[in-house]
């Protein structure tokens, strides 16, 4: 059964060109197709962005004290932008883009107020969380504390936005998580069904910041 068998009839010995041409043609088509693929797709950006961000490491969250009066760096509120309603008089526009550029310079990102418990006092340290990685990408938060070291503001710096479903889920769930975190002053947040993965990463990121605080 495994023996060499001639095909039905007699095939003449193929010329070299006949043997090589299909392979060359199909390889060219294949390479052309792959190079046509969406190169700047957020899929690959998502993965490269990950490379610049450390995974959650509770021992080393970056602490940045930002100028609360700084204006938000060119944050275009597109459909991928999380837009929690600003409640305080803080002038900053809602900032939360998932573009890696934004995370590269979190120091300049102005905190956005999400239902602060005590608007008057929310002017302490601004701390960026480490990037919490999960199956669909990365969640990174920026937190602000009162001078009494109480969590008073959370914004999302980075969240997975490479697919429509992720954007839908996160646009819905993340503002609620922000609000709940600020209300509870902790990472004790209830998961929203359908957004469990975001919740897990969100809690991991927030907890890492809280653990790093004195």
């Amino acid at each position: 059964m495994s023996q060499n068998r001639p095909p039905i009839g007699r095939q003449s010995k193929p010329t070299f060109a006949r043997q090589v041409m299909p392979a060359v043609a199909l390889t060219a088509v294949g390479v052309g197709f792959v190079s046509l693929l969406d190169g700047s797709s957020s899929g690959s950006v998502g993965l490269t962005a990950v490379a610049t961000n450390p995974v959650v490491d509770p021992n080393a969250p970056t602490t940045i004290v930002a100028d609360p009066n700084a204006t938000a760096p060119a944050a275009q509120p597109t459909n991928t932008t999380l837009a929690p309603t600003p409640v305080s008089g803080n002038s900053a526009a809602p900032v939360a883009t998932a573009a890696p550029a934004a995370t590269a310079a979190p120091a300049t990102a102005a905190p956005v107020t999400a239902a602060p418990a005590n608007p008057g006092a929310c002017d302490g340290d601004v701390v960026a969380s480490p990037s919490a990685q999960f199956r669909y990408g990365v969640i990174q938060l920026q937190t602000q504390f009162t001078t009494a070291n109480v969590l008073c503001n959370v914004t999302v710096l980075q969240f997975p936005n490479d697919r429509r479903t992720s954007v839908q889920i996160n646009n819905y769930a993340l503002p609620i998580y922000n609000q709940e975190a600020v209300q509870n002053h902790s990472a004790k947040i209830r998961a929203i069904s359908g957004a469990t993965y975001s919740w897990q990463a969100y809690v991991a990121a927030l907890q890492a910041v809280l653990d790093s605080r004195p």
Binding site: R5, I8, G9, A23, S44
Partner: protein, 455 residues
């Protein structure tokens, strides 16, 4: 020989056309598909994932195993389309064998895909949560989980041990559910798979290739069945050749359009209540002509027994012909034909086709004299071609030599064996013994021809 029943002159059926496919073409297509699949993965950052955390590593691995699993599945499906271009080049038995290998490869990749997916999803929620989302939490994953189970069950049922526990029909219908399983798992690739959910061009390519192969299956696999159904043949005569061995001649006006050659086989389906849904392979036992197709059948299993008891006039749907083990292989060389039991059928049809220059030697192995059929026919055919017949009859224990197909015995009987083309038909153990023996006696392996022993 079949009787002439209609006014048309009897002629040999035209030989099936020679396939235009070359080995290099098949290699090019497989290479192309692999290039594109790996390219899609690479382009979306597949390799970059390895430089990072466990999650991205596992994600990258779960994507590439998933993609390759699909590729193996698609290639496996192409092999069972029975496309004439492929069939005439490689033969149905080899295509089915490759189909089996690809099926196992697909399932191994599928298992890896599952392991890596669970691993990737288990950060940070744990394995239990990962399994929960992958069997229903994520969109379309409930559907996919069921589809995966079906695919794995089908592969399991095709493993030798399980396959032997099942009847052919049971196995066949379990096997058909694989279409459902594959369709159910397709949705998650498009919705959840990072390579397709986020890249329109890749998505269209993937959907396109699935649609093309689906149409290919419908057209080639199911279309040929429909065509055979619209052109049924009828049993013209049933002859008892020996104990338990019957030859059946099928006729029909549609035979004019058939292209078949000695040594090929058809999948026959009796149109009788309770049997119309099962097709079984039977070899031609004479050169196919417009006057009829003759099959020599030994009652060995339930299906072949039913075929030996068929009545004259019964409608039979014949799909085919298939097989590439034809007398063309002999060419201008001399031939050694080895028949075991009912394997004599295809050997008779080869003989009719051979030139006198082939000086054919026929080795006919049978367990008892009662089993021997077509012997006079063979002797006459061999005599015309200056050949000779050796019969080897009796149970193995009573033979004079322990292994009748050992190289020494073969060479003593046939001194010019090494220069002959060997064609074997019979039970698998005998086919293997002949292949081993003649190879050791100096026959190059490209001159040894055997097709899987059909009923």
């Amino acid at each position: 020989m079949p009787q002439r029943t209609n006014r048309m002159p009897i002629r040999k059926l035209r030989s099936p056309g020679t396939s235009l496919i070359r080995d290099t073409d098949v290699g090019a297509v497989i290479g192309f598909l692999t290039l594109v699949v790996v390219g899609i993965w690479w382009h979306h950052g597949g390799m970059i994932g390895f430089g990072n955390s466990m999650v991205t590593k596992m994600t990258a691995l779960d994507q590439i195993t998933g993609l390759l699993c699909s590729e193996a599945g698609l290639l496996g499906l192409i092999l069972v389309t029975r496309t004439p271009l492929l069939e005439r080049k490689y033969g149905l038995d080899r295509l089915l064998n490759w189909h089996r290998i690809l099926g196992v490869a697909m399932s191994l990749l599928l298992i890896l895909h599952i392991v890596f997916s669970v691993w990737a999803w288990s950060t940070p929620g744990g394995v239990f949560n990962a399994v929960k989302s992958l069997t229903g939490g994520e969109s379309y994953m409930a559907l996919t989980a069921v589809g995966t189970l079906i695919v794995l069950l089908v592969t399991l049922s095709s493993l030798k041990w399980f396959r032997n526990q099942l009847s052919y029909e049971m196995w066949y219908f379990v096997h058909l559910t694989v279409y459902v399983g594959l369709a159910m798992s397709f949705s998650h690739q498009i919705v959840l798979g990072s390579d397709f959910a986020t890249d329109k061009l890749a998505r269209w390519f993937w959907v396109g290739i699935h649609v093309v192969i689906m149409l290919w299956i419908i057209w080639s696999r199911w279309g040929s069945l429909v065509k055979a159904c619209t052109r049924p043949l009828r049993v013209a005569s049933v002859t008892n050749e020996a104990q338990g061995v019957t030859s059946v001649v099928l006729q029909g006006s549609h035979l004019q359009q058939h292209r078949a050659q000695a040594g090929q086989f058809y999948l026959l389906r009796q149109v009788v209540r309770g049997r119309w849904w099962r097709a079984n392979p039977f070899s031609l036992s004479s050169v196919p002509t417009t006057a009829g197709l003759r099959f020599t059948i030994k009652a060995r299993g339930e299906a072949s027994e039913a075929m030996t008891q068929i009545c004259v006039g019964t409608k039979v749907i014949a799909e085919g012909p298939y097989g590439v083990c034809t007398p063309d292989a002999v060419g201008d060389k001399k031939a050694l034909l080895v028949a075991g039991g009912v394997g004599i059928g295809p050997i008779v049809s080869y003989l009719e086709h051979l030139k006198p220059s082939s000086e054919p030697i026929v080795l006919y192995r049978a367990h008892s004299n009662k089993e021997v059929s077509h012997l006079e026919e063979i002797e006459a055919l061999v005599k015309e071609r200056n050949g000779r017949v050796h019969t080897l009859i009796g149970p193995r224990a009573k033979l004079k030599v322990a292994d009748p197909f050992s190289p020494n015995v073969l060479l003593k009987l046939i001194p010019d064996l090494a220069s002959r083309v060997v064609m074997v038909a019979g039970p698998e153990s005998m086919v293997k013994a002949v292949q081993r023996g003649s190879k050791a006696a100096g026959v190059p392996s490209e001159n040894i021809h055997a097709e899987r022993a059909w009923w």
